[in-house]
């Protein structure tokens, strides 16, 4: 979609106070509302980040109880052919991750709906639809990528890979919403790459990326856009 940003910024930077100002405000609000989805809530980020931290802690606690992956050659952590794997740990981690995912989606839906109602922007309008689509495509690719990594026994690469694909997804969707979303995306990619380099510490970087970053950006977005 082609957009004219020059006029938009011109309107954005005008200031003073009276009736013409109200008119200009209306014009500006309509321009913003019609070209980006501005109902994303910072609080959703704060809650999702908290859930992620709890989830990461539970995963850390469970995987440290006993060795759950035995490899043929224990040359390097997280690689090499798997000889035996403790499926109870795998299912614990899967359920843990699903809980974090569902809880995060639920709070995001709740706060975004609330904000959309307040802003008078449709929750499921053309812009939120485009935003979801732009995020969903790279995210689904990332999900499949991680499942394939698991089948190849490259378990240590999964956590940083989720960060990288999530970051790419946000970067892709960021242009359709607040600019903070793009910056959050870039930060997730960086954390993911660093985590990929220091493999074996995946959970810590996962906690920083999905937990701490979400909370920081959530607070930032709340201060800037929600109040």
């Amino acid at each position: 979609m082609k957009k004219d940003f020059t006029l938009w910024y011109k309107v954005k930077n005008m200031n003073s106070n009276n009736e013409s100002l109200d008119t200009l405000r209306d014009i500006r609000a309509m321009m913003e509302k019609s070209s980006r989805f501005i109902s994303l809530s910072g609080l959703a980020g704060v809650f999702s980040g908290t859930f992620a931290l709890i989830g990461a802690y539970l995963a850390y606690w469970r995987t440290n109880q006993a060795a759950w992956v035995v490899r043929a050659q224990d040359t390097e952590f997280g690689t090499g052919t798997i000889e035996r794997i403790d499926w109870s740990v795998v299912s614990f981690l899967t359920i843990d991750a699903l809980f974090v995912l569902v809880a995060s989606i639920a709070v995001s839906y709740y706060f975004t709906r609330k904000k959309a109602l307040k802003k008078g922007q449709p929750l499921w309008g053309p812009y939120s639809r485009q935003l979801v689509l732009n995020i969903a495509i790279p995210l689904s690719v990332g999900g499949l990528f991680c499942i394939i990594l698991f089948f190849h026994g490259l378990i240590a690469l999964i956590a940083p890979s989720t960060l990288i694909f999530y970051g790419l997804a946000l970067l892709n969707g960021g242009k359709l919403s607040f600019e903070e979303i793009s910056y959050l995306g870039i930060s997730e990619i960086i954390i993911g790459l660093v985590g990929l380099y220091f493999k074996g510490q995946g959970l810590i970087f996962w906690g920083i990326g999905f937990g701490v970053l979400h909370i920081i950006y959530g607070v930032l977005m709340y201060i800037r856009h929600d109040r």
């Binding site: 013409s20 100002l21 321009m31 053309p126």
Partner: protein, 99 residues
């Protein structure tokens, strides 16, 4: 001051028309239902404002078939864009002069 006020385009005095032009000035083709949900107006109300702006050649209309349904989309014309920009400039002038 009168001169500036006269530069304000009568076609944009209505809030819905102003909203329509705002949306179309930052987007390419936008369809009827999107406009309706953004402006929160009824079909008839929106249609009458659209036809008023179309008569002035400020917006253009494109009708297509998507499957069996007609899909009507709208776009701002060059004329409409410059008229809307002039209107904004006039508003800005009014602000600067402190009326």
């Amino acid at each position: 001051m009168k001169s500036i006020i006269h530069q304000l385009d009568k076609a944009f005095e209505n809030r819905i028309r102003l909203g329509l032009m705002s949306i179309l000035s930052v987007n390419d083709w936008v369809d009827f239902n999107e406009l309706k949900s953004l402006l929160q107006v009824t079909d008839g109300n929106l249609a009458s404002h659209i036809s008023a702006l179309e008569k002035k050649h400020f917006i253009e209309i494109r009708k297509r078939f998507v499957g069996k349904k007609t899909n009507t989309t709208f776009r701002i014309t060059k004329e409409g864009k410059s008229a809307f920009e002039d209107h904004i400039k006039a508003l800005e002038q009014l602000l600067k002069s402190g009326v």
